[in-house]
Symmetry: C2
Subunit: 698 residues, 2 copies
């Protein structure tokens, strides 16, 4: 034994016979002399051959490195050349990575605690950050055994978005009148066979199902149920529970068990969003939501928006993304089940609501043409699928209903929203908006349904905003500025130390800055650069929301000129969408009777301020309704009732999709809406700027 | 090194430290001192511990033996305690074992060439056989490394039963008028999507299917086809072939591929008999039978009849039998495909015809109650099953139609027979008999169908008959006796050296013996025991059909008093069945317009002789029709046409099953029919005995 010539603190048994020096395992593993080995690779090879490493050891030495992720001490072996982001994904650690590893969002910041890494230069990290060991996970390849710390702001935290917990489900009570699940249960007492009554077990069961008004002519049965039948009917003295799955035009006998083995029948409603996934577990007898769970869609590490996800699926295969979404859902279901002390085998009905890309990827269906003109999805109306065929943990025969979606950029989540809010059954003209990454709009009533997507981008969900984040712990969700000093006063989600700013906080901030003169109508800073809150980041002006020292951070929480630009573009896209969609049917805002807003804002969404920045139209405030997560609510309704499932299909079929991507009218309106609140201020008569002649303003 | 104290010819390194003697590996393996080890097991154990065998060696030493099967030199490792029959099954060597290993049929004779075996005493082997190393495979447990020779008569040979080859299929031409397979193909040219026509890929396909008269409202689609859709429609410039599986009340889109990847569509008709399995490969466009293959149902090693098979499935699990049947079918299909140079992926349609037990076991469905009063099958009408779900090698989406069967002992093979012979559509009264192991009878016309099974037993298929065999190479299938000397003159299948006697041969023989006075009307030998052809076997009189010396065998081919008894019981059961079934509807033989005989006899079935022994009624000879394997013919019809599949279901539904198992009338008639030809000789006016006063007769 001796001490490594490169790492004198490490005792090692590897002696180079040629040079008569010791090298530690790290040095033997590292073939790149430029990184830290003082001896050439030829030495290491010589070494290995002299010491007679077996081929297995040699292979593992030359190929794999160990990575430790702190604070949770997650350990993983990783082949050389893997990026840190890929390593984190493999270790099931969900780090923010809005841009899908392109090195453009700067969110996947990790800190190197020990070991050496070769990382590409980036302008997204400040010099101080670089000095402190910060690096972008997606830009860093592993070539050493390393220890990595994941900073607070990079780790994904518990979601606190409105409308996701069981407490939000009280609105659902009474929504469904008659329960009619996909898997219908029949409890039957069969007549035991005699020499005079020798029909087969299956025929005997069918006879009794017919008496219970089940249309057995349309009924088939799977091989699994045929195999269990003989024992099942006899075990409990011919008393059985038969489960029949209702498909589009046929029935399938999916389970037969002795009546004594009957268990609680659960349903699961799933809202699969690009950002987050929500799961409800429902008692199929009472309709009660027994438990709920929500979490980040673990596909997030492949990019914030659907386009990035599709690109990722094309590059790395759909299966990768499918697996990520499935594991998120299965884990959430497991968590919700654990709180009920129930097994996944009791889940017999599942409904899934999500945008077109999300459901395609979840089902492993090619989504590539959604992002290419003319933007065609593979499927719009899905058949009833068996849970086991798509990888969801549930009863093996559980039926899955996927909410249909009318277009590539208007999906089942919007159909769910219509189903839940019910405006498709009323004469009132409704303008419906789901503010997510895409900004889907529906205009209509009981006579027509027009829809469009307006590429709002993920700004309101924190994407593309330097300190933007979702409505998680520590997100600034409400903010006011002092009219004179512009000192901010804010509230964070759960009153935790500020970690960033979420959608409702950004609307507040933009509105305050606009009203109070910090910004001009063109969205540019009017405030004096010498203001104590002003700083410069990457050659841009930026407003400091919170100083690093107050929040025990390396960096101030800032709001840059680029962030303002991103938000302004988003709000302009949505407003332009409203305008052009109304125009399509010869209407204007004055004819709108109701304005429904859904989506994952924080609970403090301030409609008034949203109007102030020109996101929503300046119409009577009582016309506005914020309805939280309408996608999961619609999924819940479809879970319990075939009427609602059929209605969803009808809604989807009756929606007319308007494509804005090549509309010059949309581009005109979009350009006009990029002012605060709008180039035509007469459209926003109630918005007045109230700023004083502050010494800080130019 | 030293020499084993038990086997002085073997050099060994295993020295017992305690006794200071050498033992070879064989001795160490053998823990049973009574068999051949002179040293107690305690010594062997002592040995192993002293020499420090590693646990793996010790385990293998104490657990496995090598068995070599000649003449094909098949080698296999077998745990101690396994029977030779089980070893042969594991090695995929199909030895005759009519009684399912109960030690009662004496057919699984094997010859020990080297090594030692501990076998139970049996009266089924002659002393000479025992001396020559013969043993019953099912009664012999392996406790040594051994070499076994499989004698000619034990190995199963190529079937030559009538109606199984392609040459027998000429009768099928023109049987099916309109082809309507389960999997229907649509070749379509879709319109490429545009910004004005943005429906999803699936909706676009459905639109075109609707134009091609496919009822897409009833159509669902599996997840697999949804996953392949996007690429499939675009690959060949929107020209596709869509395959739609027609189920009972719904359709399923099962495959979409670019038109250039379209391949020949094949169908497979399978007749799964208790004894043998026949496979036809059919061109689904022309209806032509392209190739055929037949072989033994490899379940045969679990017993000759359905009862033994059910018992075996209860003891050893259904999966074992299911696997045997599946591998037989898959192997036959492979053979048939090879002759066409086609892949199993081209098989898109499959029909299966078999008795109720066979199809239950093939599908892995519990059959145990078929053998218990009131004899209830699990399923009588089967849904369309996917080939992949049942383990058949075919296109993954291939549909499988299983012929429905009305009762536990009257199955889909009989329904197939009716479908093929078509008497259910005519006014003529038909009596239909399938002489297999069970003897199923149908009486009826276009107004009624009565059916019964009469437990004839497997005698006509060679079961329970010492030299009985199926119509394979070397089976005596035609035989006459010299009227004076009683010297036999016979023909064998393929003119090969005689190996035994098959059904048609036995009918000939029994008839000859009866007519010529060798037997009395009671079926007992009247011939002088001193006749050169007479011998004694197991204390019974027996007639020598062929001397051992003429056929290079250890044993004469004989026909014993027990064999005659078995045959007489079988023919009596069938005749009694006819009588009682006619009685049930107030009819007698004179009212029968047509008598159809099907089943696996050799090609020389002599109706006249069958009447002579009282198997068939003494009615006009022109009423008889022998129709070969009607089960496969019916399966062929159902393969091509939905009309025929639906007709099969109707036939099965309309059949009334009469149970003979507790019928006193059947027992009375059965007893009366045990004479040759019958106790009431007036029932057989045309049968006269022609024997001379031979000096050999008592």
């Amino acid at each position: 034994m001796g001490y490594c010539i490169n790492h004198p603190e490490i005792e090692t048994r590897y002696l180079c016979m040629k040079h008569n020096i010791y090298l530690c395992e790290h040095c033997l593993e590292c073939r790149d002399p430029d990184i830290y080995c003082k001896f050439r690779s030829s030495c290491a090879i010589h070494f290995i051959s002299k010491k007679g490493f077996d081929s297995k050891t040699q292979k593992s030495l030359s190929k794999e490195f160990s990575v430790v992720f702190l604070p949770d001490d997650v350990r993983i072996k990783i082949p050389k050349g893997t990026t840190l982001l890929e390593a984190a994904q493999k270790a099931d650690i969900y780090v923010n990575a809005s841009c899908n590893g392109q090195g453009s969002c700067g969110k996947c910041r990790l800190i190197l605690e020990s070991g050496t890494l070769g990382n590409k230069p980036t302008s997204l990290l400040s010099d101080r950050e670089k000095e402190n060991g910060y690096m972008l996970a997606c830009q860093t390849k592993i070539a050493d055994n390393i220890v990595i710390r994941i900073p607070e702001e990079t780790l994904e935290k518990k979601l606190k978005t409105a409308g996701m917990g069981v407490d939000a489900t009280q609105n659902l009570a009474g929504l469904v009148q008659k329960f009619d699940p996909m898997v219908k249960k029949y409890t039957l007492k069969l007549e035991p066979p005699t020499m005079e009554d020798t029909v087969s077990d299956l025929e005997r069961l069918k006879r009794n199902l017919r008496r219970a008004k089940c249309d057995t002519v349309k009924m088939s049965s799977g091989i699994r149920v045929m195999r269990q039948l003989t024992q099942a009917v006899r075990q409990d003295n011919w008393k059985v529970t038969a489960s029949v799955l209702q498909k589009k035009c046929s029935l399938e006998l999916v389970d037969v068990r002795p009546v004594s083995q009957e268990e609680k029948s659960l349903g699961m409603a799933v809202d699969i969003g690009t950002t987050s996934i929500v799961v409800y577990l429902v008692d199929m007898q009472t309709g009660e939501v027994l438990s709920a769970a929500s979490g980040h869609n673990s596909q997030s590490s492949c990019g914030d928006d659907v386009i990035n996800r599709i690109v990722c699926s094309e590059k790395k295969g759909i299966k990768k993304l499918q697996k990520m979404a499935l594991s998120t859902i299965n884990n959430l279901a497991q968590r919700a089940l654990a709180s009920l002390a129930q097994s996944h085998k009791n889940i017999e009905n599942i409904t899934i609501s999500g945008n077109t890309t999300m459901v395609h990827l979840l089902l492993g269906i090619d989504a590539r043409h959604i992002r290419r003109e003319p933007y065609i999805p593979t499927i719009s109306e899905f058949p009833i699928i068996k849970a086991r065929n798509m990888g969801l943990k549930a009863a093996h025969y559980a039926g899955v209903f996927v909410m249909p979606g009318p277009a590539g950029y208007v999906g089942g989540d919007i159909v769910s929203g219509i189903l839940y809010t019910g405006f498709h059954k009323k004469a009132d003209i409704t303008l419906f908006i789901d503010v997510g990454t895409n900004g889907e709009i529906v205009l209509g009533n009981n006579e027509f349904l027009m829809t469009a997507a307006c590429s709002a981008g993920p700004a309101f969900e924190g994407g593309g905003i330097r300190w933007g984040m979702r409505a998680e712990e520590g997100a600034i969700e409400k903010i006011t500025l002092n009219s004179e000093t512009f000192e901010p006063d804010y509230i964070t989600v759960d009153n935790k130390t500020a970690r960033g700013i979420c959608g409702s906080g950004m609307i507040d901030l933009l509105s305050e800055m606009h009203i109070k003169g910090v910004l001009g109508q063109d969205g540019r800073f009017r405030i004096n650069p010498g203001h104590p809150r002003m700083t410069v980041f990457n050659d841009e002006s930026a407003f400091i929301l919170e100083f690093a020292k107050n929040i025990d951070s390396e960096e101030d929480i800032i709001f840059t000129q680029s962030d303002i630009r991103s938000l302004t573009l988003s709000k302009a896209a949505i407003y332009a969408g409203f305008t052009v969609l109304l125009e399509e049917v010869g209407m204007d805002f004055s004819m709108v009777d109701q304005m429904i807003i859904t989506g994952g804002f924080g609970q403090y969404l301030d409609i008034e301020k949203a109007i102030t920045i020109g996101l929503f139209p300046d119409i009577q405030r009582e016309k506005f309704r914020y309805m939280g997560n309408s996608s999961i609510a619609g999924a819940y309704m479809a879970l319990l009732s075939n009427t609602h499932r059929q209605q969803a299909i009808k809604i989807s079929d009756s929606m007319t999709y308007v494509d804005f991507s090549s509309s010059t009218r949309f581009m005109e309106e979009f350009t006009k809406a990029q002012f605060l609140p709008h180039t035509e201020s007469k459209l926003f008569p109630s918005v007045t700027r109230s700023y004083l002649n502050s010494p800080y303003l130019n």
